[in-house]
């Protein structure tokens, strides 16, 4: 065995970080979905928002290895920030509202992450969970601003770019959500393939060793956490703009659990897991929950157990395994 040549290593890294033709598929699928099923644009928008939310979680869970039970805190913070900006201050311009939601959630992520990420294991799990519930209780108590238990009403969003009113079928917002997702995705993809992204993976695999070779572990984790919170906030802001009504549900433990399930179902630490997971989860929920909510809930629980025990890589991981086996059989 000889050590690999530096040029070879760099070439291999380039190949891995470069674009693969298959990466066009989700976007083509998103466009095809609209062309084939324009009546399902609202459901499609829900899928796109869920993808963005799961993608934000993938950045910290899949890459940096931070397990959180309270990611809905940032989704909800973004949703409430954007909603309150419109309902109380009368500012309904969509893009700046989105940026505002992301900024508020990002600032919250920076502040909470700076404190929480000093802890590990069960303590960290409990702290993320308790922080999200604390925020939900706070929103419940601050009724004059948030509408409390009854939800925040009076959100009114202006036409996109001053021209495109959201129509009754939600067609405009489908393209809006797709554009926002594409923008955020490019950002995350660039990030995880950058040296910064590589150090996150290093921290996930061995924080002590990363510390020893001079990586500022805590600072890197907090940065990733704040970025992830901002993205989750943008997803929440999109949700608030689309629904024009939000309740305390956006901050709930159930939502934190849901996004975790979506990501694991698709596959963690591989960006596209969020796409597959969200599409499968939201579409199945829409179909099955209509037939029988209990059946759906039981099914998702069972699938989760089976995925974790037998298909650790999620749907994409299982697809990879199948492809490898086929290739070996073909030779």
């Amino acid at each position: 065995m000889t050590a690999p040549d530096a040029a070879e290593v760099i070439a291999a890294l380039r190949r891995r970080d470069g674009w693969h033709w298959a990466e066009a598929l989700p976007w083509l699928a998103a466009i095809a979905f609209f062309l084939v099923l324009p009546d399902y644009a609202v459901l499609g928008t829900t899928i796109l928002i869920t993808i963005l939310f799961a993608l934000s979680l993938d950045l910290i869970l899949g890459y940096a290895g931070i397990v959180t039970l309270g990611h809905a805190a940032y989704f909800g913070a973004g949703a409430y920030a954007t909603g309150m900006l419109s309902a109380h201050l009368g500012w309904g311009e969509p893009l700046s509202g989105l940026a505002f939601g992301g900024a508020v959630a990002g600032a919250l992520g920076l502040a909470t992450g700076w404190v929480l990420l000093r802890y590990h294991g069960l303590t960290l799990l409990m702290l993320t969970l308790a922080t999200a519930i604390l925020l939900q209780q706070l929103a419940n108590t601050a009724e004059p601003w948030t509408g409390g238990f009854d939800g925040l009403v009076g959100i009114s969003i202006w036409p996109l770019l001053g021209m495109f009113e959201n129509d009754l079928w939600g067609h405009t917002y489908y393209w809006y959500a797709l554009a926002v997702l594409a923008f955020c995705f490019l950002l995350v993809r660039r990030l995880v393939h950058s040296p910064f992204g590589r150090t996150l993976v290093g921290i996930r695999e061995n924080p002590l060793r990363m510390q020893a070779i001079g990586v500022p572990v805590h600072r890197r984790l907090v940065t990733a956490y704040a970025l992830s919170a901002a993205l989750a906030g943008i997803a929440g802001a999109l949700f608030a703009q689309q629904a024009a009504f939000i309740t305390l549900d956006v901050l709930s433990f159930a939502r934190s659990g849901m996004v975790l399930i979506v990501l694991v179902l698709g596959g963690t630490g591989r960006l596209y897991g969020a796409f597959i997971g969200a599409a499968v989860y939201v579409a199945l929920e829409d179909e099955l929950a209509r037939i029988s909510p209990e059946f759906w809930e039981f099914g998702i629980g069972l699938v989760l157990v089976l995925v974790v025990l037998f298909f650790r890589g999620g749907l994409l991981g299982a697809a990879d395994g199948l492809r490898h086996r086929l290739r070996r059989a073909g030779r």
Binding site: L122, L129, A130, I133, F253, P293, L304, V308
Partner: protein, 289 residues
């Protein structure tokens, strides 16, 4: 003054309920280091088992509680062997996910068989009324819960401190590898502890019907409280779980009495503050990682 006594009394009854349900979780998490989010589901299953035993089979209340203990304790053994055993060496994320999956399945099954609305039972006459304690009268049911909680902590304390099995459990909580090295069958021990803890949770679920009420969402709604008791008390600490349950039970009750609109806030703020200051909980040991 009257209000203070009511708060203390109701708070203590609530605290005992939290303790009875959470103590098993504390010991199992301390013993195997497994994050078990399905513990609330065991409690809920116990509550519904009590309902079926009483309303369906006509069993009186106290035997029904013991029945719920037995049913859930026995059912938890195959669940532990099949679902939990493969998880001991896996990551926290995997443990979180499998146990959340279990919670979903339990909630769905319970909703399917019992419907979404909270069931009711008829408690025996001697628990239904008020008891005169001399200074003032108190609800008999709450007094019974407090008495049961105190009796259980004494029994558990004696069992843990004065028996061979207790000594083995303590040794395994302190250092699993070392305990294994001196010949303690930790996995076999764990099955016993797991069944006992699930059974206690089930009994707590039965008790909860008349205190906080149960419904299919009980497993998630109260899970956070059980986890807080465990985390704040410190993993595997009997004393910790007891103190944390009293702290949280009384704080929560007081908060809800004094400031109904925002009272739910205090318990989480207190939990976050305690965990920030003492990451391993009040009575937990800092574990080398």
């Amino acid at each position: 003054m009257t209000a203070a006594i009511s708060i203390l009394f109701d708070g203590l009854a609530y605290a005992m309920l939290l303790f009875i349900i959470s103590v098993g979780l504390s010991v199992t998490m301390g013993l195997m280091g497994i994050v078990n989010l399905a513990h609330g589901a065991f409690a809920m299953a116990g509550g519904y088992a009590t309902v079926t035993l009483m309303n369906g089979l006509g069993v009186p209340f106290i035997p029904a509680l013991l029945g719920a203990f037995l049913v859930v304790a026995l059912a938890s053994v195959p669940i532990e062997r099949l679902l939990y055993a493969p998880l001991y060496r896996r990551s926290e994320l995997d443990q979180v996910l499998v146990t959340i999956g279990l919670v979903f399945m339990t909630i769905a099954a319970i909703t399917f068989f019992y419907g979404p609305s909270p069931p009711s039972i008829e408690v025996p006459a001697f628990l239904a009324g008020q008891v005169d304690l001399g200074l003032r009268t108190v609800p008999a049911y709450r007094l019974f819960t407090i008495g049961l909680g105190v009796a259980l902590i004494l029994a558990l304390w004696l069992g843990l401190e004065r028996t061979l099995v207790g000594a083995r459990i303590r040794a395994a909580v302190d250092n699993r590898d070392m305990a294994q090295a001196v010949g303690i069958r930790v996995d076999r021990l764990f099955v016993t502890v797991f069944a006992l803890g699930s059974g206690l949770a089930a009994m707590g679920g039965g008790l909860a019907i008349e205190i906080v009420g149960i419904s299919p969402t009980f497993a998630i709604q109260y899970l956070v409280f059980f986890l807080i008791v465990v985390a704040v008390g410190g993993l595997g600490s009997l004393r910790g779980a007891f103190v944390a349950a009293i702290l949280l039970g009384v704080t929560d009750t007081a908060g809800k009495y004094l400031w109904p609109a925002g009272g739910g806030f205090f318990i989480y703020a207190a939990a976050v503050a305690i965990l920030l200051l003492r990451p391993a909980g009040l009575f937990g040991r800092e574990q080398a990682r």
